[in-house]
């Protein structure tokens, strides 16, 4: 276990969060009736699986010292357009292919804007996200909520599928986690992402294909957003594009950061994502059981996060001499 912890840096914040997670889990297990049941744990995992999948996409980009603010817009619009195509009686294969092409194009656009046009990632992806939402909403969709048209049983069956009583979301999330772990740890391009995130100029000077890798990381995150969206739509048979105005994007960023993947890039990994996702999942599930209203849930969640940030800030103070300029 300690070997795991020593592999990558920033272990103190991660430890803090991990401890907090366990503490919270134990507290809820003892205090809350019905928390520690198989059904509830599965429900808990299921409720954070989507958040977790998005967090993997965001995490990969953040490790490469980027940020993807277009994630939720891609999720909403790609799937809404996909459902809309189904509604216009396109075969599911064609609809999927068209949506996929769109998703890859948007991811590549993010990458090109940041890698080739050298725009700050925050603004490039903010602009792309706004644009994608606007384009989809005004040109392809007539309504905020797009319903899955009747007659796609395969798709809905996928949403309800279970593998040994584990819901499909959780299975997919687990697969993605393993995939991301293997990719980041053992593949050439996965390692490149760390190197680029750690020091872009050094990576470039060392001859790495810096720009293509940055494009790749945004394409991967866009694809993960699409996967998350598909699972979401398979479950609830619809897609509400107003989700872009929700706090989902912020939650994703917070999961990534609370787990200990620093926004300055080059650090962290799948383990951090698991810890972050679990903390948020336990918190949300416990509060729902306690019947705490959404308003107070937000307040509590944000306060916990702020506390974690402060603890991290005190434990790992930033140094004026080694801080990178423009690193916000």
């Amino acid at each position: 276990m300690t070997g795991w912890f020593l592999l990558l840096g920033r272990r103190r914040q991660e430890d803090t969060v991990f401890l907090l997670t366990i503490l919270l889990f134990l507290t809820f297990s003892f205090v809350l009736h019905g928390f520690l049941t198989t059904g509830n744990i599965i429900a808990l995992l299921r409720s954070v699986a989507l958040l977790g999948i998005l967090a993997v996409g965001m995490g990969i980009v953040v490790i490469g010292r980027g940020i993807d603010l277009s994630l939720v817009a891609i999720l909403a619009i790609s799937v809404a357009v996909f459902l809309n195509l189904l509604g216009q009686s396109y075969p599911i294969g064609i609809a999927l292919l068209l949506a996929l092409v769109g998703v890859i194009a948007v991811g590549a656009l993010n990458g090109v804007l940041t890698a080739y046009a050298e725009m700050p990632a925050i603004f490039a992806t903010l602009a792309t996200g706004t644009f994608v939402y606007g384009l989809g909403r005004s040109q392809f969709l007539t309504q905020d909520v797009i319903y899955l048209p009747p007659g796609h049983d395969l798709f809905t069956a996928f949403g309800n599928a279970r593998l040994a009583s584990i819901p499909v979301e959780v299975v997919v999330f687990a697969f993605i986690l393993v995939g991301a772990f293997l990719w980041l740890r053992f593949s050439k391009y996965g390692r490149y992402i760390y190197l680029i995130g750690d020091n872009l100029n050094a990576a470039r000077n060392a001859g790495l294909p810096v720009r293509p890798v940055i494009v790749l990381q945004y394409v991967v995150s866009a694809l993960l957003a699409f996967v998350a969206g598909l699972i979401m739509a398979a479950g609830i048979h619809s897609m509400n594009t107003r989700i872009v105005n929700s706090s989902l994007l912020y939650d994703v960023i917070l999961v990534v950061v609370i787990g200990g993947i620093g926004l300055s890039g080059g650090k962290g990994g799948v383990r951090n994502l698991i810890v972050g996702t679990l903390l948020i999942g336990i918190l949300l599930n416990g509060m729902t059981i306690l019947d705490i209203s959404d308003l107070y849930q937000n307040l509590i969640k944000a306060t916990v996060l702020l506390a974690a940030l402060i603890v991290d800030g005190v434990l790992n103070p930033r140094d004026e001499q080694t801080d990178q300029q423009g690193d916000i």
């Binding site: 725009m119 994608v132 909403r137 905020d144 004026e320 423009g326």
Partner: protein, 707 residues
Amino acid sequence: MKLSESLARLRYGLFPDHLVGEVLSKRWTDNAIPLVFLLATVIGVGTAIPDFFSLASLADASRQLGEFAIVVMGLTIVMLGGGIDLSVGATFALSAFASVAVIYIMGGPIWLALLAALATGAVVGAANGVLIGYLRLRAFLTTLVTFTILHAIYSILVVNFSAQVQLADVQTPIWDFIGDGGVAGFPISLIVAVLVAILAHVFISRSRLGWHVLAVGGSRRSAFNAGISVRRTVFMTYMISGLCSGLAGFLIGARLSGVGPGTGAGLEILALTAGVVGGNSLGGGRGSIAKGLMGAVIVLILTNGLIRLGFTSGTNQMVLGVVLALAVFLDVRWLKNRSKVLAKVYVAPVYSALPSTPSAEPDSGSPFALNDRLAETEFIGLGEIEGPEDVILDEDDNLYCGTRNGEVVRFLAPDYKQWEVFAHTGGFPLGLAFDRAGALTVCVGAMGLYSVARDRTVTRLSAETNRTPFSILDDARLRDPNDCDIAPDGRIFFTDSTTRYDAHDWALDSVESRPTGRLLVYDPRNGRTRTVLRGMSYLNGVCMAHDGQSLFLAESWACRVHRYWFDGPKAGRLDCVIAAMPGYPDNINRASDGGYWMAWLGMRTPSYDLALRKPGMRKRMTRRLPQDDWLFPNINTGGVVKFDENGAITEVLGNLGGHSHPMVTSMREHKGALYVGGILNNRIGRYRLEGADPSWTGMRSYWGEGR
């Protein structure tokens, strides 16, 4: 003169090519892109919606603009300091609630509502500031979390108290006036915003704290190392942002007479877009209040215009996304390429025909004929110093020179084997002169005129002169203070060789050959500096004549020497005493026989003389060739000449092979020896003068026998 040359002279003399580069070099040209955006938006929307810019419509739009612009200005200041504030929307809403609560729930007075709103903003700003400034958490995340917290608090408050606010029947004419009224057609919020804008602009561009903000944003580490309290500065920017959001919240509270769950939603993204579209760079240091304002106007016109045009949901976002991407893209490209473009177009050559001159060929029999006498110099400090542009000796025979490292170095008499750093001035110390009290006056390249007292304390005497009206470049600044000399009454005359180039780019000034050199005088009695003469071609050496009423001035690129009377019966007269020389003159200093030594930093060549008459060719050269391939004046051979009161050449010291002193920029006679300095040399030369007065020193010549 040939017709083509006359045309070239007129073309390059009258057409102000140099203004392009000068305009580009100004920071305010960064505003060009947002300004073009702004105009395009105004024209586009104005054309699409004919009555969009009608008076009534404008008044309403500007009411909203006022609130929005205040928020954007707060955010701009945070961005200038290198941060980001995503909590502005929630702070705005919470402050609006605070003021509304004071009015409708407590029944309090307006001033208390304003105070409550500002206090709310201040508390939020202080919280952000402590977290980001003092605890140094990451701005993006921290403000994201404070945004979530504030928004949750706001929603809870709205749920619990909105009924009370809605049922309250409070009539407050002043409150309504702030929300709906205006002065002379201008809504209150706009007037407030203008006041805030003026304040913020003055704060950022004219106050010490504002400069600290820019310094921290520009380079946090350097600011920290320079002793600026980075933490406090960052804290302050968030405080200001919080106050701005608070003020704007008060105004929206007054306008809508209440608050709802949607108040301030999405404001942070709009404000951020405005800040960036205006051209403020993320990461800080570059930007201005004006840019923030332009961004605010662009974003508001666009969003309102698109809603007004009745487009479906999403069109707005689509256009905003494109605009944001385009603005950031152009901004990034502009920042990256401006210096390249500037380097290409800045040099704007003019026509310059040097008069023909007697030859400098050895044994040609001309008075300028070079010889190899300087080859006999002995070296002082060989390899230990870099760039002794000027040399001088004090009454104890110690030898001083400036170096490229920003130091004044002293070689100790009598053998000059030992040396020490006499004083550190920074910049590149060039011309030197001792005043009556024995303090060393130094022209420091790129900085100004400085004085080093005997106890080695460095004092700045002058760094600016009076600015020429309507000049684009700030010519009040001293760019290339080159040589100085001191009149008997203590006034210091010094030259500023060019207003167009920094000191280290002096060779570019030759390629351009635009006469912008100046003679300045610093008067120690009132501490003021005044421009005496201007429009000289790289005005370089200056030397007090033996009469104490006139100066000799060397114009390097024109190869001329002038005599200027600043005092006495001929005061104000400027005579050309040497009209043509085969070398480019540098410093001039007194000689023991009543004449003057003058350094030649290089020799004219026929090819370069021809190039100077072909400004078009030089312009193409600077744009199409890399700088290494440019034609520059020859500085591989120089020398020293002596002339008398009338400008007649009496002696020439050259170094034909260039092994000892290829380039000479200064020389001092002292007790029968000539000390030779050169700006590109790594040594000082000493040359024994045959038959010179072995007791003569500069100090005595200037300040009398007592020294």
